[in-house]
Symmetry: C2
């Protein structure tokens, strides 16, 4: 499918119609081969697409999509917001693979590295101190080991997860149920700024979109879609976090839950998830144990970059992940998705070749070429 400028704008425009959800968009693209052709399709053909009813078909027919996109482009440029359209080379790979991938993402900050190996940490807004402590701790520990943390910027568990990642200097992604220029809840405006500085705040909703109730369950599919797995920290049985867990299952993501006391209201949802087969998490190790083999499989199937001369494939991979600065050995294991023994021997090899040196503890960095 070509994504020339006009097709890209046609897709973006699909994201501007609130009636058109992710499923309908995928149906339109499948049926008509391109977004452009979908905009030109007759009502009858539109009605044959799953998820498109008479009201949606009419809205599509009547929408001045070219003008709408042009106006949106102006707003976006003025707000300094980056836009990714499904099919763009920088659109997050994992999210792009879910059936209801959003046609457009509005991004404040940078998604690229953060979406490579991400884990979602979500939960109740009315959390307990126990829940917030666990969210912060898990986010910091996983962040230190090379994972970025995705959450929903809500009060309670979500905010604690973002803060834990920030405290550990790890990238974090906040997915909104409103436009990226309308942070909700308003007291998280400062937190959103910080997140945008160390990762990104993002949304599928156009600028200016209000944080309406139905946006949040829909937003949750993006949280799980960006992530290798979802950790639910505290959740009552009515919590939106359970919707995220449900999306995660549908998308083939891992589901984790932190246990709590049997009659504790905000642990009930988590205990139920565990009963239903979610992995019980009492520390970050429980999460990594499941995700590292996944990352490994993913790397095996990804196209290999050309190895540097004189380096073993393992040494090459380790050298590559050290590009952005020093890393703890655990982080190298996560990023390369190699077994710890292979990482250790690759590091020794790189040290002997004068390409890498060990700093304090188990922190390693590249030796800059000018030093060699």
């Amino acid at each position: 499918m070509s994504t020339d400028r006009e097709e890209r704008e046609a897709r973006w425009a699909l994201g501007l119609l609130p009636q058109v959800g992710g499923v309908a968009i995928r149906g339109l693209l499948d049926r008509f081969g391109s977004a452009r052709q979908a905009w030109e399709a007759p009502t009858e053909a539109l009605l044959a697409v799953p998820g498109v009813g008479p009201a949606t078909a009419q809205a599509i027919r009547e929408f001045a999509w070219k003008r709408a996109v042009r106006e949106e482009q102006t707003r976006v440029a003025r707000a300094g917001v980056h836009v990714m359209v499904w099919g763009d080379p920088d659109y997050p790979v994992r999210l792009g693979q879910i059936p209801s991938a959003p046609p457009v993402l509005y991004v404040r900050g940078t998604l690229e590295r953060a979406s490579e190996a991400a884990v979602a940490i979500v939960g109740a807004r009315h959390a307990t101190a126990y829940g917030e402590d666990m969210a912060r701790e898990l986010a910091a520990e996983l962040g230190q080991r090379g994972l970025s943390v995705v959450s929903g910027l809500a009060r309670g568990i979500d905010a604690a997860a973002h803060r834990g990642a920030l405290a550990a200097g790890a990238p974090t992604l906040g997915v909104l149920g409103s436009g990226v220029d309308r942070i909700y809840p308003p007291e998280h405006e400062g937190l959103a700024e910080e997140i945008a500085g160390h990762g990104a705040v993002l949304s599928e909703f156009a600028l200016g979109t209000a944080p309406l109730r139905p946006h949040f369950p829909r937003r949750n599919r993006i949280i799980s879609g960006l992530s290798l797995g979802v950790v639910v920290v505290e959740a009552s049985v009515e919590s939106g976090a359970l919707i995220t867990a449900h999306h995660a299952l549908e998308q083939g993501r891992e589901v984790f839950a932190v246990p709590g006391r049997a009659h504790a209201r905000y642990s009930e949802g988590c205990n139920r998830l565990i009963k239903a087969g979610a992995t019980l998490v009492s520390s970050w190790e429980d999460v990594l144990e499941v995700l590292v083999p996944q990352l490994r499989r993913q790397k095996v199937s990804a196209p290999q970059t050309r190895p540097l001369p004189d380096l073993s494939p393992g040494e090459h991979q380790v050298f590559e992940v050290l590009e952005d600065g020093p890393l703890h050995i655990d982080a190298i294991i996560v990023r390369t998705a190699l077994a710890s023994g292979r990482v250790a021997s690759a590091l020794s090899g790189l040290e002997m070749k004068g390409l890498v040196r060990q700093l304090r503890g188990k922190l390693f960095e590249r030796i800059r070429s000018r030093e060699r």
Copy 2:
């Protein structure tokens, strides 16, 4: 294998030698065909039995077993303690099937009904208020539904479980790591009396045996052996309750655990059990859901008693379990191991036939013949 008086005494005597554990006893019986012949076996033949080393073989050869049993019989008669030898018709069926079934049980109280459908509820001695509340609640709720509660009479979770069962008027069994005349801890002497009045206090150890450390892990196999499943309520990672869970797995019993907060010391063992596949228990329903189908299978394979004339097989079963007094419909479901719908229609049938009547709530009782 015959269990005439002499063979019975020979088995009993095997239980009097502290060196001979359950595995060795089963080995001796398998090898020599009877306990009597084991006592007469030459050292070399004894050494060929798994679990029998030189010291044990010598102890067997030198033991004046006939005199020892006679002395024990006198002590037992004086103490008013009932003795069951493996092979006796009143020996608990389920316990008799485990490979390390104790050759002799000393019983204060009555085991018979209590061991039919029993669940073990065990845990840490140094429990939290949360743990003790859960133990008491689960024991009471399961007790009200026709299960008896097995535990170890220890401080903390065990005592709370016994008390919960007693509060619900349900039979409870306390298995000791000392002689039944030496209650440990001593402050539970009163609780032991109460338990003996509503079930039994029992032990495989001879009268007067002190509560030695190694007795307790060994005692735990009896707790699980008597039960359909073991619920661990609170346990640190070093807790003896995990040994009971381990026995339960080896014996093909169900393992349940009550979750707790991630870093709570006395929940760590439980959370680990859940991670390893134990059923998470947040209320009595989680236990019954697993055990009722088990009871059902067990009843199907048990020999059927002859139905009363004019009664359907379901009506007959329900009528039978009402022999000892009124029961709540849930308890009837557990005891008969019939589906709830079948129990409900059997009760209607019995009411129409004038054999059963409904008291307050969902409590049913037989109409005594003199009233009819």
